[in-house]
């Protein structure tokens, strides 16, 4: 009789004696690896989950043969709701003994579940935007792949300012919550360094869908550049309305935090043309790991990878690599391994910063292409520049050490 069969029979017959059900479940999974990917699979953020899962499963498919153990990939639908996310993570921790978690549709979700996972002694790799994840709210269990607001601004505003030395008047549109404030504060710092006049800012709520009033403020300011600091559907709405109000003809437009390909496809080349975008990932970036990933995704998923496909591929690959290197699924040792990891990633060379659990990776400045210049259906933009910018250990608000 195999060990698994014996344990199953023991549990069923109540012969487990002093073992609790949790111990039996853990024993059953001892030679396997269970990954839990949380994202929104329903509701307004359902795109995140759908495309994220494609990337996560692709990573499992490509890396599990080298793991020496079976890998089970589970998804958790948070519905884009922090309360739901916390409840489902608690269920996964308490009832399924889940310890290795990935993803996160929204910053608020990720911040909340990271505390639960840390409390349970697990490991969590995410890619959300809120700087607190690897800043003031950092913890031993949580790691982040995405570049923080500091790097996003440094790699977009600074190079655009250098490219357009006469554009000295900038106007900003900012969502009024912690992520937007992070982008705005970093932008103001770059403005000061570059001698740029910040001629105005319009704050808006996270519920806003209509931006014409704020765009009118931007038009009235006679700015040279409009810097859009919101994200997701709001940046799509803002940019679409900015173009319809003729702002693209009056000033340059920069979207500092874009989702990349899926946003470009939603907007179309007419709107994207000549607009600058900051992106975490671009499928056309020339890196060996990225070429392999794009080819694999096109073969398996029959699509060019979007941001969420890439991000989930990246964090799932990181987790699997850490388990393989540590040769254990013990969360503490997996976390220790992650802290010192370097690897060839899909954005180029990537490495973990041990002092704040932030991955050091490239951020890309793109410029939208004219429709006539697109080489294929996904060739919406060209890479203008890319690089790595992160707050130093002294600047970091994370106090792990």
């Amino acid at each position: 009789m195999k060990r698994r069969d014996f344990l199953r029979l023991s549990a069923a017959a109540g012969l487990a004696g002093g073992f609790g059900v949790a111990d039996i479940q853990r024993a059953l999974a001892a030679d396997g690896l269970d990954l839990y990917m949380l994202s929104a699979f329903s509701g307004p953020f359902a795109a995140n989950g759908k495309f994220g899962e494609m990337g996560g499963r692709l990573a499992v498919k490509s890396l599990s043969p080298s793991m020496g153990r079976s890998v089970a990939y589970h998804t958790i639908d948070t519905q884009g709701n922090t309360g739901t996310a916390v409840r489902k993570i608690q269920e996964a921790i308490n009832q399924k003994q889940g310890r290795l978690f990935l993803g996160g549709a929204l910053s608020s979700e990720a911040l909340a579940v990271s505390r639960e996972i840390e409390h349970a002694g697990g490991v969590y790799i995410t890619y959300v935007g809120a700087d607190e994840i690897t800043g003031s709210a950092c913890n031993r269990a949580t790691f982040r792949w995405a570049v923080p607001t500091y790097g996003a601004i440094r790699q977009t505003v600074a190079p655009v300012a250098d490219m357009l030395p006469k554009a000295k008047r900038w106007y900003t549109i900012t969502p009024q919550y912690v992520f937007g404030e992070g982008l705005l504060n970093n932008a103001k710092e770059v403005f000061r360094e570059k001698g740029i006049e910040h001629v105005g800012n319009s704050y808006h709520s996270l519920q806003d869908k209509e931006f014409s009033g704020y765009l009118t403020n931007a038009a009235a300011s006679n700015a040279d550049v409009l810097l859009i600091l919101n994200f997701s559907q709001q940046s799509i709405d803002t940019l679409r309305q900015a173009v319809s109000f003729g702002l693209k003809r009056k000033m340059k437009i920069v979207v500092a935090w874009s989702a990349g390909l899926d946003q470009f496809a939603t907007l179309g080349p007419d709107i994207c043309e000549d607009v600058f975008f900051g992106v975490q990932y671009w499928h056309g970036h020339d890196a060996p790991a990225n070429r392999a990933f794009v080819a694999l995704n096109r073969e398996v998923n029959r699509a060019t990878p979007t941001y969420f496909t890439a991000a989930d591929f990246a964090v799932t690959s990181m987790m699997l690599d850490a388990v393989r290197r540590a040769n254990t699924t013990d969360p503490k040792r997996v976390a220790q391994t992650l802290e010192s990891m370097k690897w060839a990633g899909i954005t180029g060379d990537e490495e973990m910063r041990a002092f704040d659990h932030q991955v050091s990776k490239n951020y890309f400045l793109m410029r939208g292409k004219a429709k006539a210049k697109m080489r294929d259906a996904d060739d919406f933009a060209e890479v203008v520049s890319f690089g790595k910018s992160f707050p130093s250990q002294g600047q970091s608000q994370c106090k792990l050490a």
């Binding site: 329903s42 509701g43 307004p44 359902a46 795109a47 995140n48 759908k50 009024q176 800012n201 319009s202 704050y203 808006h204 709520s205 519920q207 806003d208 869908k209 209509e210 014409s212 009033g213 704020y214 009118t216 403020n217 038009a219 009235a220 559907q233 799509i236 709405d237 679409r240 309305q241 319809s244 109000f245 003729g246 009056k250 899926d262 496809a265 939603t266 907007l267 179309g268 007419d270 709107i271």
Partner: protein, 285 residues
């Protein structure tokens, strides 16, 4: 032109869009007394059908005719098959039924068209901007305002100056009395519901080139529609126009005065109206 004057003009344009989104709800809520949380779904389908027809190579104008008609048939069928069963039940059953329908529709949209938003181009003949001093206003928005104005007049004539309108209004007061006159009240109710759905679809068609079509837009439409109907008064078309413009102007002007509070002020206005005139500005007693 000063920025505040332009913001008022922009607000009026915005208000007419809000009127379009809300007037269908005003009909179902005000005249039928039905709490229709599925209103946003008709708006959503209007936008998605437009996207689909344009994607197939059809023109925007073909979509503008076809999408509202398809949605009207759907609304008629929905009312006959499901919603009629909730009329005599408390409002909470109507809310649950229509909310359930919205959730099914929203997930169906995700399955059919994917979870990402889709853009719809402005028709070539309406591309470009109108210059107003230092400012520019999209020509397409001027067109939407004009359509909203024409639709408002047509609706007013339909409901205030035709036999159909008289019967709908009478039916909302006393359906038994109208039945005694030999009128098929059931069909009348279904047609009125279909009319509300069709107007919501018209709003969806017209909004598609402004903000695209995405699965979350039904909830957004419902939110602003309820605000406009509450401020304007249930069942009042004039009230919907006044409220739509009021909301649009407040939001637009506040974008300059206090941008972070622009959205909040819309709800402050609604609260003030509720305190001063609980039935809305032009609501029926």
């Amino acid at each position: 032109m000063g920025i505040y004057l332009f913001q008022i003009i922009n607000g009026i344009g915005l208000g007419m869009i809000y009127f379009l989104v809300a007037v269908g709800l005003s009909i179902t809520l005000g005249l039928l007394g039905f709490v229709n949380f599925a209103h946003g779904m008709f708006y959503l389908l209007g936008a998605y059908l437009t996207f689909q027809i344009v994607s197939w190579g059809g023109s925007f104008w073909a979509a503008a005719v076809a999408a509202p008609l398809v949605v009207a048939v759907l609304a008629f069928t929905l009312e006959r098959a499901i919603l009629v069963r909730t009329y005599k039940l408390p409002h909470k059953y109507q809310i649950v039924a229509t909310l359930g329908i919205v959730l099914i529709a929203q997930e169906a949209v995700v399955m059919l068209w994917g979870p990402l938003g889709n853009g719809v181009s402005v028709p070539d003949s309406l591309a470009g901007v109108v210059s107003l001093g230092n400012f520019q206003y999209p020509l397409y928005r001027v067109f939407v305002v004009a359509v909203a104005a024409v639709l408002a007049i047509a609706l007013w004539l339909l409901l205030e100056r035709t036999t159909f309108g008289a019967l709908v209004r009478a039916g909302s007061e006393s359906s038994e009395m109208v039945k005694l006159l030999g009128v098929d009240v059931r069909t009348l109710t279904s047609l009125t519901f279909a009319l509300g759905g069709m107007i919501a679809a018209v709003a969806g068609v017209l909004i598609a080139p402004i903000r695209g079509a995405d699965p979350s837009m039904s909830g957004e439409a419902l939110g602003i529609a309820f605000v406009v109907v509450i401020i304007g008064g249930m069942g009042s078309f004039t009230g919907s126009i006044v409220a739509g413009i009021l909301v649009g102007v407040v939001q637009s002007v506040m974008s300059t005065l206090w941008s972070e509070g622009a959205q909040l002020m819309v709800y402050v206005v609604m609260t003030l109206v509720l305190i001063a005139a609980p039935r809305g500005i032009l609501g029926r007693a």
